[in-house]
Subunit: 316 residues, 2 copies
């Protein structure tokens, strides 16, 4: 942790250092020096940075800061998962409004700590600064054997996705509208608030996948990135997209099409990946489409007919 | 670079990727995938994160965004220098106000690029998010052989500092007061605006130094951190602190004591380090004090008498 100005800040940093202290073989020096020093077991490391800004990415009224803090770290760690990387250390840079009190910081820190413990990687440093709005910028560092690149998909490959898609988008819709939280909607709200980076899935597919990306911007958009990077066309069979139980019913209540939400909403933090045609995944995953020669993405129905593609971005 | 929402943002990201693209042996995958992937030549890596917020750490009226962007990266890299680490890659997470136009982003990026080129490390990724105020959060990654810790100073060690101390504090004072910029004051303003992380110095002292820290919060405070971490007392001989030419004169004009500014102002980005008593540094540096048994820091005059210590923080 870097030190800011006031003595109150020094005390805050000292408390955070104590909370985050862990004895971990690959973390030689944790928070408290100019830098953290890592000695990774792997020859290569993966790094990603993600920021969450209050009022843009979340509202404080939606959940405790512990839940929102954990979520910020998990969102960042999702990029490690999609690379086939194993988390080693987490760095959290906070911009805090002047009114942000010690109890709020403790709650946020509790969330970071929980995420770190779930990921098996300590919070090894960060930064505190003041500003007008709360933001959480998370840097994650992981070890990597074979990195799963975004640009390796080949015509003939099959497209797969972990978990279910669109539940977090529906949950976010409930939060944004302040809609009823009941037996139907609560699991969706919970899915948005408590994502889990698919680290184990990423490690399991790393030796086999020809490409992968995490579903953070929306399935269509993220598959579009993958297709664009790989110089191929991706065709998704809409009806194969795995929806969560109750998605159709909750969508109907909210007046949205659950399958369209699954294509266009973000925050799923699942992994979409491609495999050579003769491969099957070593984990539970759903086959949702195929890679073709060409560019952009297309959507087809079960009969193979192109379906109207409004509601998600085109890439060619 | 991670992708935000609008298509304008995707185009911005694409432009940044092109600008920052470098072929560098230790950077296996740069901006454009879920993560960057580094393959460091050293077995250990150092990591630090630093944030600069508009209105808190800088004002846009002070300089071009290129200068302010370069400065943000250099401030972060200074922590690598103090660890004896060699920069490998830089990650820049930006929170941009909605009104932040493309030309401003290009200027900021030019500054990042210039800093990266000076440091010999590419901008290998980052994040764009929107918010109400501009902030620049920089993560720096370096290779490290022997890390210079903050906690290794021993009684009997001598204390040294690179460069001059306090010039940036005086320059900041000129900026904050919007005081005259003339032949006397301009070099000080320039020193604040255009710091240079002392990477070469850090690498040169790494095999010998018993401890080191960069001077970012102010000499007294940073030496205080070093003493506290090492469990020792640091005694600084005030009159030995190396001031820049003209510091006394500019201080007199501003009505401040230049030596006191040197003790208490920050942003110097020089390195203060300790050596065993029989060692001399392999680089140009000034001997400013010694480590004793005890705690906290003390200030003495040339005759060895304790001097009044107002104006800087005590640590014991």
């Amino acid at each position: 942790m870097k030190e800011p100005e006031s003595s109150g800040e020094f005390e805050r940093i000292a408390r955070l250092k104590r909370r985050f202290h862990r004895v971990v073989p690959e973390v030689e020096i944790g928070a408290g020096d100019d830098c953290a020093v890592l000695r990774p077991n792997d020859a290569a490391i993966a790094i990603s940075v993600d920021a969450q800004v209050e009022g843009v990415h979340f509202r404080r009224s939606w959940a405790s800061l512990a839940v929102l803090g954990r979520r910020a770290v998990m969102a960042a760690a999702s990029d490690l998962a999609a690379m086939g990387s194993r988390p080693i250390a987490i760095f959290s840079a906070l911009i805090l409004p002047k009114t942000f009190d010690d109890a709020s910081l403790e709650s946020l820190a509790e969330g970071f700590e929980r995420a770190g413990d779930e990921l098996g990687a300590p919070i090894a440093g960060g930064n505190l600064a003041s500003g007008s709005e709360l933001s959480i910028t998370t840097t994650v560092i992981g070890g990597v054997g074979r990195a799963i690149r975004r640009d390796g998909a080949k015509p003939g490959d099959s497209i797969w996705v972990t978990g279910t898609i669109g539940a977090r988008g529906l949950g976010l819709e409930v939060l944004l509208r302040d809609a009823a939280r009941d037996a139907l909607s609560l699991p969706f709200v919970g899915a948005w608030l408590e994502p889990r980076a698919r680290i184990d899935a990423g490690l399991a597919i790393a030796p086999f996948a020809t490409s992968a990306i995490d579903v953070s911007d929306g399935l269509a958009q993220d598959v579009g990135h993958l297709a664009e990077s790989s110089g191929v066309r991706a065709v998704i069979e809409i009806e194969r997209i795995p929806l969560a139980s109750g998605a159709g019913e909750l969508g109907a209540r909210l007046g949205v099409d659950a399958r369209r939400v699954a294509l266009s909403s973000g925050d799923d933090y699942e992994i979409v990946f491609t495999l050579a045609a003769d491969q099957t995944p070593p984990i539970a995953a759903t086959h949702i489409g195929r890679i073709e020669v060409g560019s952009g993405i297309g959507a087809i129905d079960a009969g193979g007919r192109a379906v109207e593609s409004g509601g998600y971005r085109h890439f060619g």
